[in-house]
């Protein structure tokens, strides 16, 4: 069982006659396929999970901690912890991305705690005063923004392009319609459904966090 099996594409006629191909064929197994391989302890499951969620984990850590070095440390911790703890992950009752996001929160919170301890040590050397600052917690809005950005990048076109224009570039709906040469009604409909899609993803992830 190697990684190849997970994203092997079926042999088909040469490209000259274009087959129906999706981005999945371009090398992306579905989240469910990754979760199954991961839970079964297959190497390909880990590498596929890393490929699929390392950007989310790293971006979340980077936005929370503000340091690339710390964010890379956290990314390492998260995937090592996830792999070692894969026995506690049940692919039938949980979403691997949400589960990994939960581990990421914990690792970031640990990193905050370490920083605070270091600060207290430094302060203690100066004055033996109260070190009672409240523990820093992971900012929920940061988590939600990263989860949304990650999901948006996976939405199929033309919706992805439309949402990127609307959200990243703050274009109005008529501007988007003009830029992409699409009817205004189509643009609006994609934005509404895209918003619902992003909301659904956010619910999945925060629902899992609540259970942890």
């Amino acid at each position: 069982m190697t990684g190849a099996a997970l994203w092997r594409v079926s042999a088909g006629p040469a490209w000259v006659t274009v087959r129906a191909v999706t981005s999945k064929d371009a090398g992306d197994p579905t989240a469910a396929e990754i979760a199954t391989a991961f839970a079964e302890g297959r190497d390909a499951g880990l590498s596929a999970a890393y490929r699929r969620w390392s950007g989310l984990v790293f971006t979340l850590a980077l936005r929370s901690l503000g340091s690339r070095a710390d964010a890379e440390d956290v990314t390492q911790q998260v995937f090592v912890a996830a792999w070692r703890g894969r026995g506690t992950f049940d692919p039938d009752h949980g979403d691997l991305g949400a589960w990994i996001t939960g581990i990421t929160r914990h690792c970031i919170a640990d990193r905050f705690a370490v920083r605070q301890r270091d600060v207290r040590k430094a302060e203690a050397a100066v004055r033996l005063a109260d070190g009672g600052a409240a523990p820093q917690v992971v900012d929920e809005a940061v988590v939600d923004r990263v989860v949304i950005a990650d999901e948006l990048a996976r939405i199929d076109d033309p919706r992805r392009t439309i949402l990127r224009l609307a959200f990243y570039e703050d274009r109005t709906h008529p501007q988007i319609a003009e830029q992409l040469g699409l009817p205004l009604g189509t643009v609006k409909s994609h934005i509404r459904r895209g918003l619902l899609q992003l909301r659904d993803r956010l619910r999945e992830v925060s629902g899992d966090d609540a259970r942890r």
């Binding site: 190697t2 990684g3 994203w7 594409v9 088909g12 490209w15 274009v18 087959r19 129906a20 191909v21 999706t22 064929d25 371009a26 090398g27 190497d43 390909a44 880990l46 590498s47 890393y50 490929r51 699929r52 390392s54 950007g55 971006t59 964010a71 390492q76 090592v80 792999w83 809005a141 940061v142 939600d144 923004r145 949304i148 950005a149 990650d150 948006l152 990048a153 996976r154 199929d156 076109d157 033309p158 392009t161 949402l163 224009l165 609307a166 959200f167 990243y168 703050d170 709906h173 830029q179 992409l180 040469g181 699409l182 609006k188 509404r192 459904r193 918003l195 619902l196 909301r199 956010l202």
Partner: protein
């Protein structure tokens, strides 16, 4: 009768106020009001999204190294570093593709020269022509595409990069046939063989697959 969620989404993103009857319902229905509030929050968050970033390749090496040194040795559990290294190479390329999307700078601003521009020729029975060229933008590769005379039809035009192995392709985004567009290329993709630029006509059917309806095509030099 609760409010349809697409209607709620419309109020959340388009800023128009619910009609009087709906406003009445929202006042008395916690569920619909909560859902509207939730959608407004998602819309607000979505207007200040971070750009997704990738850790350096070294992180994956560190992960496999740490697991390699501690995982139990056994026929099933033994970590195969070579497999993982190969998978990591794939991961590095495709991972970069996570953020793939049109960079959406289809403006008429001055753009850098495109020395590698190629012509896109119509496929048998199709019409239209175009050009595509790679531009280096702060270390990353972008594909600048223009087209003219494309067959009109219901739907939209999509830019793809097909691998010369004939088995894989990635979507780069939606092309406006009048304005052209510039699209991010996943890091390392052209070196991996994703060199055939393909523009297809895609029906608005919600199916993300390539429609089979390729119009014009050309191959970037290796």
């Amino acid at each position: 009768m609760h409010v349809d969620e697409e209607q709620l989404a419309r109020w959340a993103v388009e800023g128009d106020a619910p009609d009087p009857a709906a406003a009445d319902h929202l006042r008395s229905c916690d569920r619909c009001q909560a859902e509207l509030d939730e959608l407004r929050r998602v819309s607000d968050l979505a207007h200040s999204l971070p750009s997704m970033e990738q850790p350096s390749d070294e992180v994956w090496t560190r992960i496999t190294g740490e697991l390699d040194s501690t995982e139990q040795v056994g026929p099933e559990r033994r970590f195969r570093s070579r497999t993982l290294a190969a998978a990591a190479a794939v991961a590095a390329v495709a991972g970069a593709g996570i953020g793939v999307g049109a960079t959406l700078v289809a403006t008429d601003e001055e753009t850098p020269a495109t020395p590698t521009a190629i012509r896109l020729e119509p496929l048998a029975g199709k019409s239209g022509t175009g050009s595509a060229g790679i531009v280096q933008v702060s270390g990353a590769e972008e594909l600048k595409v223009s087209a003219s005379g494309l067959a009109a039809g219901p739907g939209f035009y999509e830019v793809w990069l097909i691998n010369t192995d004939g088995k894989r392709m990635v979507s780069l985004g939606v092309l406006n046939p009048q304005a052209g567009g510039t699209f991010q290329i996943p890091t390392g993709a052209t070196a991996q063989g994703y060199r055939i630029v393909d523009i297809s006509l895609e029906p608005e059917d919600g199916n993300p697959e390539h429609s089979h309806d390729s119009l014009i095509r050309g191959t970037l030099p290796s």
